[in-house]
Symmetry: C3
Subunit: 297 residues, 3 copies
């Protein structure tokens, strides 16, 4: 017998317009009434495995011991594998399609320990080869999560596979460049949040000694950005590089959307460079930000 869980954490691209999320929870309630389900989020853009995987990774350090379902599954019903991955000495089991959506979260939890393919179809709700294979959340992942919560061992719900063979998550790495204008790092927007903050794949250490004010280039827009630990510290209209809640740098403004201001979306490229006075003077801006305060300092 495995460990009993009393929490399921649930992430998907199901949206909330339909009953999909509710039906998954209903199945879990029916099979394991003691379990509380925590919704991590269901507004992952449709089929966007990368966005779902990054959301899982951001949430993972804060999840309680639980069975975690991450379902962004464009290949549902094909031969893509449905898997369960044990992490953190059994404190967590992560379920989902083996398409990369689990990879970042599993890595954040310390890496895969045991892993199984969810091929014990007798546990599934709809297990006839002539059945619809369009709703694995309801028919596969929910009953497996319930079984694990009820004490099933990982090997009771599937056949062991090598954890090394799981589909990797693609992590875009920033790259350092040295140009005529000095040191710079070329990164990418990982995530635009509800407030328009643009999380980059660049951490504070990557630009540790580049000063408090940096040059940011996003497409045709060049702005001077100030480093900060909060949004409000930036002041009106100023672009900031804020140390965000996941330990990465985010382009942000105070009470405004950096994504709107800088015309950025997830996946867009951003260059951060050491600021020299000349380039600062050339920076484009839609609001008067830097120049006056620079003279004062």
């Amino acid at each position: 017998m495995g460990r009993h869980f009393d929490t399921v954490c649930f992430l998907s691209d199901y949206g909330t317009a339909d009953e999909f999320v509710g039906v998954v929870k209903a199945v879990i309630r029916d099979l394991a009434a003691h379990v509380a389900v925590i919704d991590i989020g269901h507004q992952v853009p449709r089929f966007d495995v990368r966005a779902g995987g990054l959301m899982l990774a951001r949430a993972m350090p804060y999840l309680p011991d639980s069975v975690v379902m991450a379902i962004v599954d464009p290949g549902v019903g094909t031969d893509r594998r449905a898997i369960a991955v044990e992490v953190a000495g059994g404190a967590g089991v992560v379920l989902g399609p083996d398409n990369g959506v689990l990879a970042h979260g599993v890595a954040m939890a310390g890496g895969a320990e045991r892993a199984v393919v969810l091929d014990r179809t007798e546990i599934h709700l709809s297990n006839d080869a002539r059945s619809s294979a369009t709703f694995a959340g309801r028919d596969v992942f929910a009953p497996v999560a319930a079984a694990l919560c009820n004490g099933a061992d990982l090997h009771d719900v599937g056949t062991p596979v090598e954890a090394d063979g799981l589909f990797p998550g693609v992590v875009p790495l920033p790259r350092d460049v040295e140009g005529s204008e000095g040191r710079a790092i070329v990164g990418e927007v990982l995530w635009v949040d509800h407030f328009g903050n643009c999380q980059l794949n660049i951490g504070p250490d990557d630009v540790a000694e580049w000063g408090e004010r940096l040059r940011v280039t996003a497409g045709d827009v060049v702005r001077v950005a100030t480093r900060a630990l909060s949004f409000a510290a930036l002041g009106p209209g100023a672009v900031g590089l804020v140390l965000d809640a996941n330990g990465l740098l985010a382009l942000a403004l105070d009470r405004r959307s950096a994504a709107d201001e800088l015309q950025l979306a997830a996946g867009d490229q951003v260059t951060i460079a050491v600021l020299d006075d000349e380039s600062a003077a050339r920076s484009t801006r839609s609001t008067p930000v830097a120049a006056p305060s620079r003279r004062e300092r």
Copy 2:
């Protein structure tokens, strides 16, 4: 005393912009703290009794033993009746306005057994004739659900009525036609889901021996559709008739919205016909779908 329930399943057109759903749950928590509420969905289009009723019916087979509230209630505060309907030998009680929103769900659960009108106003929160009558979810359905969870019998919360006299759900039936081009069936889009899949009121048996490839006419658009058990089996750009998770046929594409592709919305008419080679050749399409692969087979 009736059966005790520990789960309330909750569907409405309240949306999530406001506190309506939360206040209903707060009332239930206050009156019956042991109860877990499962949200089936709250994004039913405003006042759309049919859409709410179909959502309830799709979810119903998967709900645990529970009190089910389905509140799409444009007539709130009028003499439309608020009712509770017992189903499945008492394993479930369905609450809502008697405007048809419950009918499909009740039928899916095996039909109405006992039914009552919720006229025991002493249980309700706001029961003065001069009070606002705009929020029956909070004032009527939540306290009645809590009472049922606490062990009240159905007859403790209302006056018995004939189950036969409840407002029926309107089910659009497909019709077979025989035209110059052969056998066809004229159906209707019941539901467009978050992914753009268009569920039809046509089941697989309705077109059982019509072959794997069928002619679909939706407005001015004529396409060849392939039958499939999953979306990804269709391949890029191909329109499919997929056996969906509720056992009906749905027009679908792989990772794209069939509703966008075919310009379909809930309630629109769709004709499915036996495919002859001539009609296939005439089919309009925005992506090369059928012709090359047809020759290969």
Copy 3:
């Protein structure tokens, strides 16, 4: 030791696109597994402290004994204070930023009793001065809520402050005017709900003896409005002044959006006046409403 709570009620402007709400719940689950979290609502417009405060006030009378978190926090990370306020003899504790978002809710619960500033950083998740200070819901409010649920006294989570010194909520008051056309009251739209109903800061007593039909002026639009206790009582196309579920008057139509019809948004000014026949005849309307039925009466 303080009282133990088993419910947290949670309101924010976090939206549901991201994992913010889920992560806050995950932290609470991890620290106080016995607690159920009820979402009041998370679609408060970004940074809109007034809208969040009004939502809290509307919900407050219906909340169970609980720890209530109301997080609309544009100043997160600045020296704005994070506070906890005890209400109702300890039956509730309200947490949030001290920017006014709590004020209406606290008043609705009978006023602040004890209050503390949440400065016991050893309870917080991220308590290094060099840490990101962008997600107080996760790092401050969630662990404090969990501590209170686990039995901590208010004074265990912060340093006492004068309840009188908390940031007040701004309540727009209606004003009576007496013009050439008779008595009138000038109010404001407090809230436009999901259905387009426009709640005013005007109660039924403010216009108690002004008759059943009233003149409503909203910008350039002048309409005759009928008083009602429900939406459906209004009949097609008629503008109503409905006694809403919070005891205030709301501009409403039956199954249509009053906000669309009258071009109203939260914060807009509305004048309600005693109707004289002449002004009624001059009223603008987009649908034939008043004149025929007036003659019949």
